[in-house]
Symmetry: C2
Subunit: 396 residues, 2 copies
């Protein structure tokens, strides 16, 4: 296994062990200089001409290629833009259009809520007996029947890290004639994904977690190449038009993945993400995965040995987990605040999940040991039992 540790490429605050890269990745060192250049040399000096001269217009597909490599996507099948929620909506709406005789979107209750909310909004808008059907993760396979137009799942559960078997579920959806939409929010940059082999119709994801694109970095959408010239984008904005600058009165979708573009792309966020993606040059996801599992196994072993108050919420088997480890603890919210106050940043997910992300680009074995020591200290000394830590409203 090659070494994937690139600590020197990231800024990490003094005294922090960051186990929350699954929520917001840290800043790659070279981002501020790149943004300064985009502002001072492109926006300020090129003005409107930056759209072509600085390549702003091409960023969504250029960066899509970089992201696509990490998720095993075919060349030219990924485009960046909007937020993950908006891309989920596009994939769902396009999927429903592909199965006009069916009315059900099937998902599971381990999906990230925003995906479910977007589906609710879509079926609410459509009316006509359209329905979001939500089952337990283990019941998904049995629930894929002839009513299902679209199966929408997040590969890695945001709370527990439990993974769906992408290939197996996609095959079941295919066999039942349903369109498959995968949300790769906790997969891209975290685990190897092979979209080309998975044969799903759509995939979506975000880039501010394991890809370190910065707060609010653009999302991505993948459309299987054989469908990219026919999928209806639903959110049919001008930059998805075949000739945006002809200003036709009628929408004519661009060929290929470009049709999934909507409005004017956020150039500053795109540039930050583009810069952040350079960290991945030459890195193989299989090496990242191996390093991640090593860190996770060490963490579980040390926590179970030293911190008996916590009980494992993630699957025990490494291959069934994404790149995070979650533990349950009744007072998890307060405990996490106490842990954070002592420099180990993880996060909390209701009702009782303490979540720790493992990101081998900037974490090593000594970080894990140091983190467990602090968690142990908080638990042994009941440091969580402080009113100040129980006040809700902090994002973490």
């Amino acid at each position: 296994m090659s070494n994937v540790l690139k600590k020197e490429d990231f800024i990490m605050p003094e005294g922090v062990i960051y186990l929350d890269g699954n929520s917001l990745g840290p800043m790659p060192k070279s981002v501020p200089e790149r943004l300064a250049q985009v502002m001072n040399e492109e926006w300020a000096q090129m003005l409107i001409r930056g759209w072509n001269k600085a390549g702003w217009m091409a960023q969504p597909t250029d960066i899509g290629t970089r992201v696509g490599r990490l998720i095993g996507a075919e060349a030219g099948s990924v485009v960046m833009g909007d937020t993950l929620s908006v891309k989920v909506y596009q994939a769902l709406a396009a999927g429903l259009k592909m199965r006009p005789d069916r009315r059900v979107i099937l998902s599971d209750n381990g999906n990230f809520p925003s995906d479910l909310y977007m589906a609710e909004g879509l079926v609410g808008l459509l009316g006509q007996d359209y329905e979001l059907r939500t089952v337990a993760p283990e019941d998904v396979a049995g629930a894929i029947d002839d009513d299902v137009a679209v199966v929408m799942l997040t590969e890695v559960d945001y709370r527990t890290g439990r993974m769906h078997d992408m290939k197996a579920v996609t095959e079941m959806a295919y066999a039942a004639g349903a369109v498959m939409v995968w949300d790769l929010a906790h997969s891209a940059g975290a685990i190897p994904v092979d979209l080309a082999a998975a044969n799903c119709e759509f995939a979506v994801g975000c880039t501010y977690k394991y890809l370190n694109g910065g707060p609010g970095a653009p999302a991505f959408i993948y459309v299987r190449p054989d469908l990219a010239d026919t999928a209806e984008p639903a959110l049919s904005g001008w930059l998805g038009h075949a000739s945006p600058f002809d200003f036709d009165l009628h929408y004519k979708p661009a060929q290929g993945i470009e049709r999934m573009r909507v409005g004017t792309p956020p150039v500053l966020q795109m540039a930050a993400l583009d810069e952040a993606m350079k960290v991945w040059d030459g890195i193989a996801m299989s090496d990242v995965r191996a390093a991640s599992i090593a860190l996770q196994e060490q963490f579980i072993e040390e926590v179970e040995r030293d911190v008996p108050q916590l009980s494992l919420a993630s699957p025990r088997e490494a291959k069934q987990r994404g790149s995070q480890v979650s533990f349950r603890f009744e007072h998890g919210y307060a405990a996490m605040q106490a842990v954070i106050d002592r420099g180990v940043i993880g996060d909390f997910r209701a009702p009782d999940i303490m979540r720790f992300g493992f990101t081998p680009l900037y974490l090593d074995s000594s970080d894990v040991t140091a983190a467990v020591k602090i968690i142990r200290d908080v638990m042994e000394n009941r440091l969580w039992d402080d009113e100040a830590y129980k006040v809700r409203g902090r994002v973490t």
Copy 2:
């Protein structure tokens, strides 16, 4: 009239007269320092904690308040996010839901194409005889009948600068029982808008033009306060949920304008926009309007005197124009490239419109005179008749 000229607050490249702030505003000088601070002190140092500690989560409504002041919106009625196309979609979808017995979205063929495209996408998705009806701008009034669920118009025509009478049209829509959606893309920061008085249900707009928020800056949406607790956002993302961090399985819209939020906001773009909005502190839109009209009138007078090859495409009467002046010229595309090459940046809109924006925060009377001199030189000497200028594909 107070002086609104703030040239010293903007970066302008040497030798450029910028008449394209209606497409992409120039960079306010203080933006790079602000972004450096957001990157180095917030993202890099606070990491995930920035969402609360640095106020990232509140940016969309905080900046909404700043933008709201310039468009006469009631306090708390504007929120930032996504792109203008996405906000158009939300307004249209919510408007259709308010008039379940009607099937028509009415617009005009002077509207910006992306607004029409988004409406086409929406009616295509809905099926069931939903229809986008597009008439000539002068025929809108006569076309507002009992079939119309939503009237969607852009106040200022992107090609000619011609203005709709917002108050009059809104009253007609109201009388016919239709919901009114105004696109303020070429209004916000360009002309005084009084949304509270207009009584329209929705308004949307972008911030990278006259508000100088930078390429791809976030859009805004306004919902009339009495409807903000009932309007259905259609794109029902988690940050529009009443309690996003409870991670409920079902969507429950937030009270008020927050429900129009969708996904994770683009923090870097928000910060750039927030900084850019400071330029407007203490500036009255009535003063901006007076200064803009003075510049436009001077420009028209000097062009008509010195450049007879061009014919006015904008309304001659100042009060019927937004903050731009357009001229028709058969070889307008090539002519604009020649003009740009000589330092006067305007833009071109098909088929033959040379468009010049007037932005009194950073343009004065001497700029107008200098610009006309260059345009005259290009036309007198047929400098546009150069093959290099005829090659399409440049954004401007």
